[in-house]
Symmetry: D2
Subunit: 374 residues, 4 copies
């Protein structure tokens, strides 16, 4: 009945919003900025009917807008074109073109890209920020990486833990990967792809100075794959950028300024993860109970990520054990037994749902100045 | 990452089901069979990227399976091909071919069809049960209807209330429609399309002996358009068929054996709507309160449709006024004040959410035999 | 651990509110004022441990506050004292005294009263606005009514449909009731008590010029009896008062200015029910669809009552049949097919969930002035 | 209207159950038995109007039944009787008597007891399994403990962390407590009371060989205090008993066979907590992914407690980091990267939400035998 695709999704969105305000809000992916940078929520690996995805590119735009993303990349398979009987000889920039047009009234950034789709080595990789994807249609994989580089692309290894390529799911660099990294032809690695996370990929990122990424690699529909009605979210790469622009994201990625959000987990280098944690959980109120030596501290979670904190302070808590859970975008009040009424209180927590290296959980510290309030 | 589209949706579905059992159940469209016929839930007007829809045909199959449909029709626009730059000269049977393949392991029936897409008159019409849609690519609309007829098609007028064609939204037969009906070239009419319902279309169906249909005319994603997480459903045509088969549905449609389900409304001719209502709300228990002249009657709603009944019995109710609501797939117990303890009790209700003609609501009667139970 | 009962409930309430904002809001009973009167939500029949209830009087106050009531009455049984072994010779004003103290920081009004608890006739009656309940401890029931009258009480017949007193549940005046009414000793009648409604009591109220009341007659816990977590509400009497005060309520009751709210049903005389309906469902926006003869009208429900409207306008609707449901405190937009673009549009609906007499549903009319907006 | 208190609650319960099956199920506190013992869910500290509570004793029975408890204790304050003007000179066994009668058709066990209510030292203590509470009405607190002992009572220190008694909330034994323990007059200690938990009380229990208890100390209404509609539960003491009987519970307590459940935390000695954890989280399926070296292990949570596990296995997981959450009464499937296909797989987790000592979290090990399945 309706004939304009973009219109369909604008209407769809307003319908959705009119009928289910909770879903409208709960599906938004929200993270605060950190000092010096904007925190941009990016899903940099996606497919449409222009390779092996199941939707027209406009759907990717509509999904990203309602999920509150700042940027998505178009990364159709270069070599894998199962719809070629129906969509013959496609211009490899075509999906990008459609998404760019569909998003022109939104603040969503569309990044051009391609998935270099080879058997191992090197497996699959994404090259993004391309100027012309067609120029990557070359036989020799090395030539493809070089062609991408010539266009100034940022390139990352996709799902190094993929069991179709490694039956044990253990991400491991091959000689070819080592060479690509050395030559500056491979800049990042997915530590999260779709439903999977890889401690080994995280270690490779750390050992080889690679940018960490988390992507949905979506082929179907976000709502279905990530149980959005049940409160789920797709994985995203949080990029810390000087500005909200294509170039801002590119510089952020090139400088490895990323944290990956996957289910309720955050993965990143300490230099970015720690400021993000600091901005994510903040103290909204701290006050001694009247006439008591028990300090009520209200912690606010400014994000879409549930936090699991383990109390490492020198004080015990009056209303819980050492495990403290803070639901997304919610408050909790902990009651801290400081023995005496103090002017300064330091609280320390291990963030169990965050990692800076395999099985390595960062600590956060809150310094509370109570002078004049007691 | 995943490369087989069909597989995507199988996996997607099981993921969905694993995580949100409520949604898995609440989204299913459920109606009971009626004496002599199976009640088949059909959505006979749908689009994909092969005309102006936003998804690959496999998505239509996945949606229909989780919505518990029995059949869907593929009805791409013949003349309106906004994706033709990307999908040039398509075989007009192609979407049907893909959906047929995608559903081969399901019991879902895929019906071939096409939307004849003209300005008024005759506007848009669907021809379904085609053998070759390409043969309908003809200039003269009358020739198209004839070509469809030659293939044994069942043909219906789409959204006769569409405000792009009638700015007042009032469905009205043109001379051309009258001629098509007279010649047997137009067999049905949508009384429901997408979010709209037309009393005038219902009257036209009754006056001209046309089959009544209700369709989603889906272009985007069912979950978004019909607030599925909030408990919504797409509109469907319930076809009363001798058997669950393409032919069974065809015969049902040709013999006008349909009821339309739209939001919590049911629209149909008395000869089909009444047996459906009888099968939809049944008495699961009836028993006098101990030592009282008050009869507890438990009504069970066997459907996905909420019922609004208005008590027209000669008895009043002890636990409500005359308006009785029964939620989908739920029980309620009404307490009937029969003055004396009776062996036979007749209850009468007007079904406010059902219509057999504009503003005409059918009555249902329950005869309860209590002999030997008191 | 905690020792102050009132404190318990203050703390309890804030805990509840902190943890479940939806329940905090959804349990509130909300109705708008009408021209000339405040609409006060009153539950005028309640029990505590001071007769046969299961809670200390403070609980009644806490429940009423979170349910957003304006007033509750204390109506312990005078003659039925099953806890007398534990609470011997109680001052019959005692529960009132405790509730008054517990509510002194709230705006909740506590009304003193007693339930005159006799076998039939006259069955049970409440006398409220008493100055000293102890003075009603008399043998002859007629003397009790007279003693209440001397204190200026307002008196009403409780659950005339109670199957313990009438096995058929049919409210019927006895000679004694007729005499009490004639003498001005019986002023009102419960058309709703706990889970029950009585068409016959409604007719008695109309025929005998009695005030209509609906009460919870709560003995246990409101949350349990009325499925508050599932969205339920206790029945209340809406009293239309000149001011929010004990006296305002008394005058409202004496002048029969009431509407009863029970489940999603409203029961009252037209002179009060109609202005309430007018204030309850209002038009928040009306605008023609651009270039169409279809008028979008947004109806807002300002109450905790779900409305079921049946369209009786001369226009049909584009997005629904004639049954229009408006959820509590929500908007819906109906699309009215006015054939031409009009400057004035009249819409008429029967309010199916409201009654002014048995099986008699009032109509509401909306006059929409669109001059200058088209 | 209704006059039998017990009846009220039976009816209330069935109403509740009829209308909100989710709440009916989600509020049940469920834990599995362990080898050699039944796991009995006990709330051993409660108040009613017979001291400073807000409900008649029958409400405590009704709450316990719908919460699926096995036993509750009646522990009115001996010395604190704020309702004495209304309930004068009460028999201190009276609340027990009422609860016993109210529960006679349920399998709920009612345990007689009293709260010895003194300022510090020794503060408040409960003596349960009394034969006559009246005999504890003595001036000298030591005499009270001796009188309780003579009746064979089990005695425990209530809320040693109570800030009304210790402004810093730090549980600390006084000389008097040490003496009572030494004399066998004090057998247990609350590590959890109402909304509070005490690491220091846990340490005292361990150092002094005391039984650990967790109680609601409920004065008001369980549904309100513990956000039952939002999924909350009251704290309980799980007692590991030879049989479900008063004596079984007594022996369990005397032998320190307890684990405390508080929010989603479990507190206990390793000898009871470990078997409970083993029975709580079980493997329902383990199977290698077809052709892969990745083992799918489905863990089932048999309890009402959400589990937070930290993976300490030598294997990493394919679908999550090291933090694994299992919702109450739910399944999750973890994907274990075992490098090779193995016949035996050992998995190790730290249970972050369980403690055996302050900040000391037990480990659980799963040995999976896959021989013949690969």
């Amino acid at each position: 009945m309706k004939q304009a695709k973009v219109l369909v999704f604008l209407i769809v969105s307003s319908f959705l919003f009119a009928h289910d305000h909770d879903l409208e809000n709960s599906r938004k992916i929200i993270f605060p900025d950190i000092p010096g940078y904007r925190t941009l929520k990016c899903d940099l690996h996606q497919h449409t009917v222009f390779s092996d995805g199941a939707v027209w590119p406009t759907v990717r735009v509509a999904e990203a807008v309602i999920d509150n993303l700042d940027a998505i990349a178009v990364t159709e398979h270069l070599e894998y074109q199962p719809h070629k009987d129906d969509i013959p000889h496609p211009d490899r920039n075509r999906a990008y073109e459609i998404e760019s047009k569909a998003s022109e009234n939104d603040s969503l950034i569309i990044i051009s890209g391609s998935e270099i789709t080879r058997s191992m080595p090197p497996g699959h990789s994404n090259a993004i920020f391309l100027t012309d994807a067609n120029k990557l249609l070359l036989d020799d994989p090395l030539e493809v990486f070089k062609a991408a580089k010539e266009q100034g692309a940022f390139t990352f290894w996709n799902h190094p833990n993929w069991t179709a390529h490694r039956k044990d799911g253990i991400a491991t660099l091959t000689d070819m990967h080592k060479m690509l990294i050395k030559e500056g032809l491979l800049n990042g690695i997915e530590v999260v792809n779709e439903y999977t996370y890889s401690d080994e990929a995280l270690q490779i990122a750390l050992d080889n100075n690679l940018t960490m990424l988390g992507t949905s690699d979506i082929h179907g529909i976000i709502d279905w794959e990530y149980d959005v009605p049940g409160g789920g979210h797709r994985p995203v790469t949080l990029v810390f950028a000087n500005e909200k622009s294509t170039n801002g994201i590119k510089q952020g990625l090139e400088n490895r300024r990323t944290v990956v959000f996957f289910n309720d987990m955050l993965i990143g280098r300490p230099e970015h993860l720690l400021p993000l944690l600091k901005a994510s959980v903040t103290i909204s109120e701290a006050k001694y109970q009247k006439g008591k030596q028990v300090l009520n501290v209200t912690l606010h979670n400014n994000t879409s990520c549930e936090f699991q904190l383990q109390n490492k302070s020198k004080y015990t808590l009056h209303n819980s054990g050492d495990l403290v859970t803070i639901k997304p975008l919610s408050d909790i009040t902990i009651e801290v037994k400081t023995i005496e009424v103090l002017d300064k209180v330091k609280l320390n927590f291990t963030v169990l749902n965050a990692v800076t290296a395999p099985a390595t959980h960062p600590d956060v510290e809150f310094e509370i100045d109570l002078k004049g309030t007691n």
